[in-house]
Point group: C2
Chain length 79, copies 2
């Protein structure tokens, strides 16, 4: 089974990487870009009894390791 | 309009970050994890006439700046 974990900075947390990308896009002539937020995506191949079991375990993985919950939020998708 | 660009390493390209995450998950007791691939996600707020125009411009942004097409592939979603 394949799971996709998307980790983004929480709203209100400074995003220097997003700012830098936004600035670079403007310099390259993409003035229509307003705000940019950068995050991480982690694709996992996982053995699991069913989708619910997979989602629960990946959620646990995200809480314990993949996301820093002080400044990040995450989303788990089982595909 | 909001666009989401997901950038992943191409198949066959060594993914040390993914390997490190996989190893860490195993150490934490998540033995059911097989393979892990790590990538980047970039969310953009963009002014555009319509969805097609937005997709075309974001595709151009990805080719020019957001993805290193030698080793990375990307996917653009307009949400």
């Amino acid at each position: 089974m394949k799971a996709i974990v998307t980790v983004m900075l929480k709203d209100g947390v400074l995003d220097p990487q997003g700012k830098a990308i936004g600035h670079a896009l403007h310099v390259q002539g993409f003035g229509e870009v307003q705000e940019v937020r950068a995050g991480r995506v982690i694709e996992l191949d996982i053995d699991a009894r069913d989708r619910e079991a997979a989602a629960a375990r990946v959620d646990e993985m995200a809480r314990k390791l993949l996301a820093n919950q002080v400044i990040e939020s995450f989303k788990v998708e089982i595909v």
